[in-house]
Amino acid sequence: MSGAGGGVDLSRAGSNIPAGRNLAVRAVFFTCALITVLTTFGIIVVLVDGALGFFREETLFGLLSGVLGGLLSGGPAEAWAAARSGLGVQVTVREFLFGTDWSPIIRPRSYGVIPLLWGTMIIVVGSALIALPIGTATAIYLSEYADRRVRNVIKPTLEVLAGIPTIVYGFFALSFITPIIQRFFPETGTFNAAAGAIVVGIMIIPMVSSLSEDAMSAVPDDLRNAAYGLGATKFEVSTDVVVPASLSGVLASYILAISRAIGETMAVTLAVGMQPNITFNPLEPIQTMTAYMVQVGISDVSVGSIGYQSLFAVGLVLFVMTLVMNLLSLWVKSRYREAYR
C-alpha cells in the first residue's frame, strides 16, 4: 500500500499484472535510496581504512587479508605474525595530534597535524568574523526593514554568491583581494591567510543571511505587535524580540557556515598557499587541511606511500570536524526551537 493512497485499497482488484512486478519495482527504488546510506558507510570505511594505513604498517583491508592469508597457509601462528607486523606503528597518534611540524612528503619527515589545523582555524575565525555579523545584519535588514520588492531582488542576488564555483573565489582572492591588501601592507606575499579568510567570508555570507532570514521571517507578527504595543521602537523589536525568537535558526546557520568554511578547498588553496605554518600574522602564507589534500592530489605521490596515506588521515579529521558541526546544528535547531502556532 502506498503512503499516499488513503481509504480502501482497491488497487489490485481485477488487475492482471503479476504482483511480483510491484515488488521488483519497489526493490529497485529501495536500492536507489540505499545508495545514500552506502555512501556514508563507504566514506567512513575508506577514511578509517586509509587512516589506519597511515598510523600502522597496513591498512584495514591489508591487515585482514594478511591475517586471513596467514591463517590459510600457516595456521594461527603465521596469522598472529601477520597481525603483529601489520599493526606495527608507523606514525603514533600522539605525534599526529600534538606534533607541531607537518612534512609527510619532504624529508626530514614529521607528522604533526597541528599546523594544518591552525591554518584551518585561521580561515574559520577570519571568515566567521566577516560573515556572521554581516550575514546577521543583512538578514535583519531583509526580514525587518526591506519592503517585499527589495527583498525579492536582493535575496536571490546574494544567493548567486553561493552558486559561484569556489575556484572563482580563489582567482578573485589572487587577482583582486591580495593586491588591495598589498597596497596597505606592502610586505604581504602573493599567498596570505587574510585574502583566504576574506573570500571564504564573502562566500558564506549568503548562507548566514538566507537561513537566518528564513528563521526571522518565521517569527509571527503577533510578537512584534505585542512589543510595539508596549512602546518598543523598531530597533528594539528587531534586536530584543525577533533575534531572540529566531535564535535557534540563526545559530544553526552560523554552525553550517562554519562547517562550510572548514571544508572549503579551492578558494583557500589558491589564496593562502601551501606552507604549513603556525602564525598569528594573517599576512603570511599558511596551509589548511584541505589545501594540503589538494597539494598531494596534484603531486605524483605513489599509491600506498605515506604521503598518499596521510590524505586519508587528514580527511578523517576533516570529516569528523564537519560531521560534529552538522550534528550540532541539527541539535541546536531542535533544542532551541520555539514552536509558534
Partner: protein, 329 residues
Amino acid sequence: MTGSERDGRGSDGGGEDEGVRADGGDPFASVGGNIERKQRLGRVFVGICFASTLVGIVALVALIGDVLYEAWGWVTLDFLTYPPSRFIENYYPGGRGAGIYPALVGSILLIALTAVFTMFIGVGAAIYLEEYAAESRLKSFIEANIANLAGVPSIVYGLLGLAVFVRAVGFGESLLAGALTLTLLILPIVIVSAQEALRAVPDSQREAAYGVGATDWEVVRDVVLPAALPGIMTGTILSLSRAIGETAPLIMVGAATSMFVAPVREVGGVPVPDLFGSFAAMPMQIFDWARLPEAEFQHVAAAGIVVLLTVLLLMNVTAILIRNKYETR
C-alpha cells in the same frame, strides 16, 4: 528583562519587588526622555544593516567585474576551439591558437554522464521515500543520513571516489570515475529537490488513479512522475550546475590538470566519449592556469572562468525556463 535582573541584584533576596524599578519612579517616565536617543540608535542600526546588505552585493559586483576585466579580449573563438598551451604567445589573437577546448568538452561530457546517473538514482530514491516508504524509523534514518551527506566537504567525496571508483573498482583516473564521484556528491541535493517535486503532486490525482484500478507502480509511472517531471528537471539541473564548478573531488580522483585532446574517441567515424580515458575539466584547467607564476596567465584563467560561468548561466536559465513554463497551473 535586563532591567529586572539589575533590580533583583539591587534589592537582595527580595523576589517580591520584581518589575519595580530601582529608582522607584514611574516606569514610563524615562521612556519619553530616551525616545530621541532610541530613534537615533534605530537609524544608525538600519544604516549598519543596510550597509551590511550592500557588502554582499558589492562583493558580487566586484567579483564579476574583476573576472570580466581580466578576461577582456582574451575570450576568442580560438580560445574555445584550441587545446591549452604552456606558452603565453599562443593565446594572443593571431598566435598559433590555444584555449580551453578539451576541458570544455570534458566538462560537458562529465556533466552529461553525471546527469544520467543522478536522474536515475536520485529520482528512484525520492520515489521510494515519498511514494513507497511508510513513516518508519528506516525512512527517517535515510532522510537524516541524506541531510548529513549534504554537509560533507566535497574533497572527502573525492577521497571516496579515489579509493572506490579509481582503485577498488578499477576504473582508473577516468571520465567514468569522475562522473560517479560527482553523482554521489550531488545526490543528496537532487533527492531532496525531487522529493519536493513529488510532494507537490496533489493526492487527489493519485487517488483517482487508484480508483480506476491502477497499481502502485502504474500510479507512479503514469500519474505522479509526469506531473512532477518539470520540478525534478529544475532541481536536477540546478544541482548539476553545482557539480560543473566542483574542482576538489576531481583533483582527488586524478583528473588531468591539462589535457591536449578531448576525451572522445572515433568509433567507426562516430565520436563517442572515452569513458575509461583520462580527461580534463574546466575548473581543473582554470586551477592550472591560475597557479602559473606568469602574470599574463591570470588573463587566461579569467577567460576560462568566463566560459565556465557562461555554461553555468545557461544551465540556470534552462532550469528557470522549465520551471516557468510548467508553473502556470
